[in-house]
Symmetry: D2
Subunit: 371 residues, 4 copies
Amino acid sequence: MSHNSFGHLFRVTTWGESHGPSIGCVVDGCPPGIWLTEADIQPWLDRRRPGQSKFTTQRQEPDQVRIQSGVFEGRTTGTPIALHIDNVDQRSKDYGPIAEAYRPGHADLTYDLKYGLRDYRGGGRSSARETACRVAAGAVARKVLGDGVRIRGALVQMGPHAIDRTRWDWDAVATNPFFSPDPEAALEWEGFLMSVRKAGSSTGAVAELWAEGVPPGLGAPIYGKLDADIAGALMSINAVKGVEIGAGFAAATLSGEENADFMHMEGDRVAFNSNHAGGILGGISTGQTVVARFAVKPTSSILTPGPSVTRAGRDTEVSTAGRHDPCVGIRAVPVGEAMLACVLADHLLRHRAQNPDAPVLPILPLPAQRT
Amino acid sequence: MSHNSFGHLFRVTTWGESHGPSIGCVVDGCPPGIWLTEADIQPWLDRRRPGQSKFTTQRQEPDQVRIQSGVFEGRTTGTPIALHIDNVDQRSKDYGPIAEAYRPGHADLTYDLKYGLRDYRGGGRSSARETACRVAAGAVARKVLGDGVRIRGALVQMGPHAIDRTRWDWDAVATNPFFSPDPEAALEWEGFLMSVRKAGSSTGAVAELWAEGVPPGLGAPIYGKLDADIAGALMSINAVKGVEIGAGFAAATLSGEENADFMHMEGDRVAFNSNHAGGILGGISTGQTVVARFAVKPTSSILTPGPSVTRAGRDTEVSTAGRHDPCVGIRAVPVGEAMLACVLADHLLRHRAQNPDAPVLPILPLPAQRT
Amino acid sequence: MSHNSFGHLFRVTTWGESHGPSIGCVVDGCPPGIWLTEADIQPWLDRRRPGQSKFTTQRQEPDQVRIQSGVFEGRTTGTPIALHIDNVDQRSKDYGPIAEAYRPGHADLTYDLKYGLRDYRGGGRSSARETACRVAAGAVARKVLGDGVRIRGALVQMGPHAIDRTRWDWDAVATNPFFSPDPEAALEWEGFLMSVRKAGSSTGAVAELWAEGVPPGLGAPIYGKLDADIAGALMSINAVKGVEIGAGFAAATLSGEENADFMHMEGDRVAFNSNHAGGILGGISTGQTVVARFAVKPTSSILTPGPSVTRAGRDTEVSTAGRHDPCVGIRAVPVGEAMLACVLADHLLRHRAQNPDAPVLPILPLPAQRT
Amino acid sequence: MSHNSFGHLFRVTTWGESHGPSIGCVVDGCPPGIWLTEADIQPWLDRRRPGQSKFTTQRQEPDQVRIQSGVFEGRTTGTPIALHIDNVDQRSKDYGPIAEAYRPGHADLTYDLKYGLRDYRGGGRSSARETACRVAAGAVARKVLGDGVRIRGALVQMGPHAIDRTRWDWDAVATNPFFSPDPEAALEWEGFLMSVRKAGSSTGAVAELWAEGVPPGLGAPIYGKLDADIAGALMSINAVKGVEIGAGFAAATLSGEENADFMHMEGDRVAFNSNHAGGILGGISTGQTVVARFAVKPTSSILTPGPSVTRAGRDTEVSTAGRHDPCVGIRAVPVGEAMLACVLADHLLRHRAQNPDAPVLPILPLPAQRT
């Protein structure tokens, strides 16, 4: 069972609420002997950290991670790794309205429906603050995967504005506050997002993830499929409403010949002519780049007032002032990377459990391709 | 762990290959006292059964289900329900080529990469034949959910041809061989698919699922989210490359106001003004109709020859003659329904385990709306 | 969740009732490439099979196993292995009394209390017939463990009559109908059990299991301890009421010095001076022989009438005529071996998932010792 | 998977080492709306806390628990409850010898064999310090079970000295430092344990647990048996080598008539004439008192020097000075209670998931009886 745990052999359990004293996670099943310090985790947390540009919430959280267990003399011991992050900037606030009125698009109503009560301060458990724990766990997962596997993410669409894929430049991602691989799109988004914020509105986005160097053979035939686990992992991120692997929904429009990733030999290795499959066939990695995308809905917290209801069953109007990202899709990029890293680390362990001497036929991976 | 099992409390384990003596599943955790006979399961299997129109494979499989355990005097006993289906039409065939050459888009290569060997007859374990077991389990899941929950599916796009949603008519679904809710689209698809088949090609599709009457409160906050489990379940179906909940990828293009499902009171119940969320907020069902869509890639088996490689590492050309669906998306509709039913049954049991006395605030569900 | 499943990576799911058409199991997670035919499984089933001596039930079941999936051209493929056994000798019988009256010591009452109904024919799901599936799965587990691991069981006590451990002879086990390693005890038991049977009574027993050649490092620190999993596995066998590892309850009477398994070097390997730990320290295998014992209560089905109650809440008297083992502990020996094999196979896979390059210090195992 | 997690629906994950900054656990799946404060947990921790009598280790740990999440305004919210305990008295010490030499009976060797490295300070993860987390989780489990279920434990044997069961007095348990229900035995043990300690030795013990008021129907037929889960849970406690349910190993010596728990009606309820079954039939609770016992080996840390080996493969001699319990069985009593509480809470949730409207026939429980 897994209300708050994720993965099987590389297993992450998170806990904590937006306005409690701290949040954290337990990473169980990590192989021993891996060099790991807080400095390996912090940079990934810093990428997700709020308050870094005018386009994200101004809540000031240092998100300083502390390793509480599972590491000895700088190396993992194979026992559970507890990672803690203190909540620092729980601005004192009158939660009266939020306690009574259900914010549209938020989990306020459904938590009450499920549990009969909820921690309403800042969204409680449903706050995106929880995703810091995912990023911390993802940093450990990256260490498990090793340097041969490279996981990167980018924002490829903001509201109706998609990037131009011919301008894709991974180096550009770190140079703008949107993780955009297209510098020109970043400029466009800057203006767009300013106007969205001024209008007291918000916008959705689409992010894309690449995992290069994934060994072939990860995944399992039926209910342990690599793509199924990736889909579940990404859909579990706050505000995500859609997930694609490889060509995704576009594959529906293609003919069999167009969609086929034909193969040929390059020397003694297999090469694919394209990567519509997104690096996964029959639920198992091919050795090509694993490509996934996910859609993030616009931030539900908006200044524009809208009709809603109260806990007591009265009509009301809600507008959410406060510290919010106008586009939560931006900070979802490092979270998506982390979830992909966790899924891959889990499947790496699962694979070698069943198939310690696996591969037979070497694969030559081509760069990820969209169409 | 779950290579071949699915669900937690309502748990399905499937087994069997395309050309073995039989296939089947074990449904564990089913509540006791439910009236269940083979006649409750067979109709759902018949909907998925091949050979029913000229637009699906001509393999003749009666798919007759036999209950082997877990039912006594017509009612479930709470012990595991074993459901068996004999493979009947394993046409004798020379598997030499398929054993040696990797069919593009199929799992031939990846099974070899993962396991070092594979049952190559008809795709072995990776054959869509396995989905019959999902449908059988889904029939049991429907009984668990009871008559109050109605799960239906339809094909909303074939290749580039989408339905006109204003013509949506659930009654039409049973009147054409495509599960189309739009009779005019069905006519169009008939011509399109004939030409695809004649060209030795194949096409992709998009299916949509509705679950009406889902009680509020199903799901769990973080890694047990209802939408995350639905996404994983649908992505685990053969050939699926994308999954959406509610507005899905379209949500990315919307503003916060457009995407918000505002609420108001109707008498003493809560009503939503729209359903972009697809019936799920914060991973928990709202009581609105749960809406999901999934994209199916074009059938990988095509007559058109294309370049590939052999097990021995030589270049070759592959064209897949034989009995294949030109659009596997069609028969994926009942499979998607079954997976959704299984996810909901599992979450119903999970919910009442933790929250036996749950709901506090009644919800008035509106019909599902796209936008 | 695991009502009817067992193990994590080497995962067994069983199904079937005493008087249904068939019983069976699904073995998931078995590594690929292992040579496996029905002939590898049948001998183990034959050892457990009823009707082989006058000291076991006369129900005639050939217990012929059929592999339905997961094996191709004689080798496992890594996909689920379905094993089926037909029920043959469901003697027609009037179940009226058993349907109404609760047999003391049986699960009749508790199944009704839990589920509100039950398959009362021959005990239904609670029948020891289910253990045939465990033995079949255990045969696969032995193949996973390989020839280097040898798992054997023996009966060391029947009623109040224990063996003389100084006469322990593994070769004797196959030469008497009791799996006794002490031929003289076997003779004594023969007379004792005849008198028990004539008296319409039954008797309990204690069985002991040895697993030699278990690699060091299997198990996990806290809740995945090898001994904890063995204890749960053995206690899950019908009629078992106690489980010991190594010195077991006798350890409670010892001093620290007496109980310590001191170590010394033999060449470049570590040797233990004794094996009170039963081959497990801190939940992890040492490389010594794993030793476990379990106590089986006397068969609950006895001819002697005793007071009980009916389903309708009336006092009654029950005496169970029919085909029963006077000492179910005998046939529990092969079942115990199978469960131990399954636990070890599961932990072998779990271990190499986390620690593929594990051992550092070689261990020289000594023969298993009691004190 | 569950290296460091325990339970399915009431799920506990622990983390932390003996000499790290803190230890803790995450309790997931706890029903919402339960009143819970640190004051509900602390008393149970205090019972287990070291340094309370001269018969336990003198390590001074306040074991002050802090709730970090999952509780809001005094009540559980249904989200994960993180419980933290700081390590305070990590006495500075030269760990050189312990880092190099393997202490007999400890997990030093096996951790190195499994992981290739270990946190050797105070036993690291294998330290009994981890059991504080179990006790904290058990306190939450007791709240889930409610006041109707009473779980108590007692020490019934120390070394070779068993209590006289005719003197059993639950009130006595709190009046002596051994949790003995027999005041005279407590006096005897005091002298015995003083001499053991003076001799630099240690001794084993047997503990007994009672759970009164357990609802009938908890457990599941085959691999989810209540007794199997109890056996695994108790065997997972440090130093435990044997587990019994009800009559346990003594059942092996009985005849069917002696062991049978005959039944009769008392008014409109069922009563048992005895409780050899320990409150469990067919893996399912009967409504009688659940009775379990477990054997604890003598503390492995003894002053008496004994032969061992070093990490480098040399013969050496080890004697463990320091702060140790001469009889770890004493403090295992509250740990055993906690584990039993966790198992029962988990099965309560599992039961109502599958059987929300379960019971049909009321049961009148008799007090637990041994023979």
